[in-house]
Every structure is written in C-alpha cells, then in structure tokens.
C-alpha cells in the first residue's frame, strides 16, 4: 500500500512488484488495483485530472523529461477527430530495463493508468507499442487486458459509465528508433519507423493526422497514485523540478544489477552502494553513464551527484531514462565506445545525412583504432562527425550516437591515441 504521507513513500510503480501473481486481476484487486477508478470516472472531470497531473510536475519517464501535464494540455479538444493514447513500451535504450518489470509483474497498474489517462484525454482507442523482443511481456499484458475486458474495465461503458475505451497491444519488430514518439506513430501506422519532423507536433497531428499523446510506461503507471493522492502529494516527493519517485535501471560493474525505485534526488553513490550492491571493484567508478547510452559520461568526481534533471544537467549530462551503466577500472572504454558506435549505426533509420553516413564513419574509425590502425587526424574527424550530427537531425538518435564518442575524446583521449600510428617521417 502506498502511504498518503509523501515523506513515507518508498515505492509507487514498484509498490506491488514483488507480490506473487500480481499480474492476475484477482490478486491485483486485493492490493487495491482499480479501487479508485470508479471515483475518477464518476467524479473527476478531464480538466481536474490534467490539473492534478500538472500540479504533480511529473516529467516524462521515457527519457525526454517533458512535463506530462503540459503535454496533455496541448491536445486540442472537439476537433471532430479521435484522440489516441499510445503507451511507449519500446524500451530499447541500452541500459534501460525498468518498464519490463512493470509490464511483466504488475500489468494492471499500467492498464489502470491508461484508462485514467484515456478518460482525461477523451480517448477511445489506446495502444501499447511494445518492443517485439518482449514476447513474454506482451503475452502478460494481453492476458491482463483480457481480464480487464471481462471485468468491464475496458471496452464499452466502463464500469457502467459513458466512457468506452479499447486497448490493444501492438508489437514492434526490432527497431530502437521506434522509441522516438513520431517513429513510434509511423510504425503503428504500419510503416517503417522513420521519425517525423516537428512541427506538426503529435498532440495536434499524430496517429493518422489525429491528436495523439505518447507516454512512457512508467509515466502512465504513476497516474493512478497521482489521482488517488493528489498532484500536490506527488510534488512533495523528490525535489522541485524533479518530483516523485524514479525507477533507475542499474547495470554494469555492480554486484546487484536491477531496477530500483528511489526518490528523485537520491545520489548516485546511494543508488549504487545502498541499492545495487556496490561496485564490483574499487571504491569509485571510472565512468557512469547516468541516463542510458545516449547520455554523456559522468566520472568519479560526480559520484555524489543527486539524481535529478537539473543536477545531472549541471554535471554535463542528462537524466534521460534513468538507465545507470556503471564501469570500473577494468572496463575497456574504447571497446565499449566502438560497440555503442555499432549499435547506433545499426539502429539509425537512415533518413538524415549526418546520422546515416556519420554513424558508420565513426564506427569504422573506432574499429580501426581498436586494431591499432588509427591515423593522425582520426580524433579530429571523430569529433567533427559526432559534433555535426548533434542537434542537426530530425530526431535525437544522432545526438545520442555522438555522446559516447565525444565523452571518450573529452575524458580519455589517450585511449584513442594509443591506437593511432604516427606516419613515418
């Protein structure tokens, strides 16, 4: 049970994640699932819900960190077109694996959040876009949804009200770029997942040209608690501008890799040492990637940074999805960067010139340097290629591709120089 005293909250999304068979409606109900839903459907208005979400100051948990209430308020009403709610369960950012646990252990939490969000936005068709590899998780969701339909929690006239909503699980097929909201929409339209330029913004013109809201699994899973306990309650947890709890996926050179829900503002050190079993070797990490592979690297000197949007930005990186990849002094950072370069090359959709051509370029140079065949000037080329694809493309994948390379050059140039052969005089 979640306490109504914000200072006593230890979990929101993961409140019931360890309860056996929580995926079953029966069990979920015992833990309070859907208990508050009738109140929302019968007593709350759309404005009230959006207000509470705005007051909660929850920011998109998928990585972009955009204030959710604000996003919802952008949706134009009474356009004559249907509004769509899409749950982004594509979870492909290397290092991120938090949404998987919500979906496979407490799917009804997500479903309930989507019903409430759908109600607020006047949505009648909602979809969960789940990455294709999560076969098991998609099955779990489908079973939970079937249970919900049978219990009049989805479909026509939910719980005897005027509100009807259909929810469909839609599997992707292996494309990281589909985690980008416009690419997700393209994929849901049955096309290749190539991001769209903005404007127009999905809130106004998204799925088949209709108003569309795309939200992350964790974000939507937080909605039931926000509505039950109030936006002010949520805003009292964490720190201003980074409110609430956050699921952090911790992986790499830690003893207990896994997902940990902690209040925003928890320091990196606490996260790693108190929750993730501490470092495998040494007392401080060599490198920590704080928000998924697309974010710039933090160093040992940042070990005490509070995990908030603002603090991490000040430290030179981004909170992103909260995927913390920890590396100690045994890590081969050059190999890691080269491997990430391959990831981005493989996942680039290919539309924009710098990303399409530049990712492959960086990968090839890094491989050469790995093999000790680097040339003078390679570092300059890597820097140029990475820099000029950042902020110059339709989506942020290119910027993510540039981040590890630029971090390596900035903090560990000697690793590159070691692989560069001086030209014979």
């Amino acid at each position: 049970m979640i306490p109504s005293d914000p200072s006593k909250v230890t979990a929101i999304c993961f409140d019931n994640v360890d309860v056996p068979n929580m995926r079953k409606l029966e069990v979920a109900r015992e833990q309070g699932a859907y208990a508050f839903l009738p109140t929302v459907l019968k007593e709350f208005t759309s404005e009230k819900i959006i207000d509470e979400v705005k007051t909660s100051n929850i920011r998109g948990r998928g990585g972009a960190g955009f204030p959710t209430g604000l996003k919802w308020s952008f949706v134009p009403r009474n356009t004559g077109k249907p509004t769509y709610l899409l749950c982004n369960a594509d979870e492909g950012e290397p290092g991120t694996f938090k949404d998987r646990d919500i979906m496979r252990f407490d799917p009804h939490l997500l479903v309930e959040g989507m019903i409430m969000a759908g109600f607020a936005l006047d949505v009648h068709d909602a979809y969960i876009y789940i990455r294709g590899e999560f076969v098991h998780e998609a099955n779990v969701l489908n079973e939970a949804i079937a249970e919900a339909y049978a219990a009049n929690l989805l479909g026509d006239n939910i719980l005897g009200t005027d509100f009807s909503m259909d929810l469909t699980v839609h599997r992707g097929a292996g494309a990281y770029v589909c985690g980008e909201e416009t690419a997700l929409i393209e994929s849901l339209e049955g096309k290749a997942g190539r991001p769209r330029f903005k404007p127009p913004f999905p809130a106004v013109e998204g799925f088949y040209g209709c108003p569309t809201v795309v939200n992350n699994v964790e974000t939507l899973s937080t909605i039931p608690a926000i509505l039950e306990f109030g936006g002010k309650w949520h805003a009292s947890i964490g720190v201003p501008n980074s409110t609430g709890m956050k699921l952090f996926s911790v992986s790499g050179h830690v003893n207990k890799p896994g997902n940990y829900e902690v209040p925003m503002g928890t320091t990196l050190r606490t996260l790693i040492e108190k929750h993730a079993g501490g470092l495998q070797h040494g007392t401080v990490p060599k490198v920590v990637i704080p928000g998924g592979s697309s974010t710039p690297w933090l160093l040992a000197e940042h070990y005490d940074v509070p995990m908030t949007y603002d603090d991490i930005m000040e430290a030179g990186s981004f909170l992103g999805s909260g995927a913390v990849i920890v590396m100690d002094e045994t890590a081969d950072l050059l190999a890691l960067t080269a491997r990430l370069a391959h990831f981005y090359t493989h996942e680039s959709c290919g539309q924009c010139t710098p990303c399409r051509e530049g990712t492959g370029w960086m990968e090839r140079i890094l491989k050469r340097i790995q093999n000790g065949q680097g040339q003078p000037g390679d570092i300059e080329v890597l820097k140029d290629a990475a820099y000029h694809m950042s902020g110059r493309t339709i989506c942020a994948l290119a910027e993510g591709a540039g981040a590890p390379v630029l971090s390596l050059i900035k903090h560990f140039p000697e690793l590159l120089e070691a692989g560069i052969v001086e030209k014979a005089a």
């Binding site: 259909d166 990281y176 339209e189 049955g190 088949y208 790499g252 990637i289 995927a323 990849i325 190999a335």
Partner: protein, 165 residues
C-alpha cells in the same frame, strides 16, 4: 510449388486484428509476425500474400520487412540464439559467451550449423541488462548466462531433437 496461403483460422484472426485499427495497414507488423510464425521466414511469396490479405502495396510490405530486424527474408536455424553484446552485457562477459557458443557449434557469428538446428546471432540491447549477459533463444530470455549454461542448453536441445527424430 503452390503459393503460400493463410489457414482459415489465421484469416479470421487477421480479420479481428484489422478491426482494432483505423486502417488495415496498421496491422502490417502484427500480421507479418503471424506470417513468420506460420511460414518460418518471409519469402517474396509470403510478402505478396500479406500484401494481398491486407490490401496494401507490395512495396509497402517490402519496406517494412527490410526495415525491422526481427523479420527474416531468409530461413534460419530451428533454434535462433541471439546474444546481446551491448554495454550492460559486454561488461559482464557477453563477448565470451558469444565466442564460446560459436566455437562450440562451429559457426561464425550469424552462421547456422550444418544440421540446420542452431543459428547464433549478435544482437542489440535486449532490454534486460539487470540479468546480463542476456541470450534470447527463440524469443525466450535467458539471463545471467555463462558458457556452462549455453553448453547445457545446446546439449538438452540436441538430445530433445534426437529423441524426436
């Protein structure tokens, strides 16, 4: 060789699926998954079948099939073993697992054993880094995998197949 067809049951399933979307083309990814289940891989004939079933252009199907990694135009081994080697897994020995598996089966990365049983592939982040190293075998996640685990899986699979033969 006659053109591939969906079974009646499959067609009913597809019909119901299409109804959940505003336009039939949205059902393309789910239907391709079903087709790949039915036919093993998405040959040009199967792609044409999907195009005809949904009423979309063949080019639209080709674009989707070639864009997404999970769709195969060529057949692969009966057991597809996909090893993730991205940072979370790499830092915990994934490269060694990959090398070991390839050596054990006598194939290169991406290759298939001569008996058509196993294909070993190197893939991108599987989204389960907490259980690194992660190997997906025919879609099932195996986590905290080491060489011994792979050896056991291969052995068990082989004897299972041998018993059936």
């Amino acid at each position: 060789m006659s053109a591939p067809q969906f079974s009646k049951a499959r067609l009913t399933e597809i019909e119901a699926l299409v109804k959940r979307y505003p336009h039939a083309q949205s059902a393309l990814l789910p239907v391709l998954h079903l087709a790949q289940e039915d036919f093993g891989h998405l040959s040009m004939e199967v792609q044409q079948l999907v195009a005809d079933t949904l009423g979309v252009r063949l080019m639209a199907v080709r674009e989707v099939v070639t864009f997404y990694t999970m769709f195969r135009e060529q057949p692969c081994g009966k057991y597809l073993m996909e090893v993730c080697t991205n940072p979370g897994c790499m830092l915990n020995g994934a490269n060694e697992v990959l090398r070991h598996t390839c050596d054990k089966l006598g194939v290169k990365v991406g290759g298939t054993t001569p008996d058509g049983l196993f294909t070993v592939a190197e893939v991108e982040c599987a989204g389960a880094c907490g259980g690194a190293p992660v190997v997906q075998i025919n879609g099932v996640y195996h986590e905290k995998v080491d060489a011994a685990h792979m050896d056991k899986v291969i052995e068990d699979t082989r004897s299972g197949e041998g018993a059936g033969a």
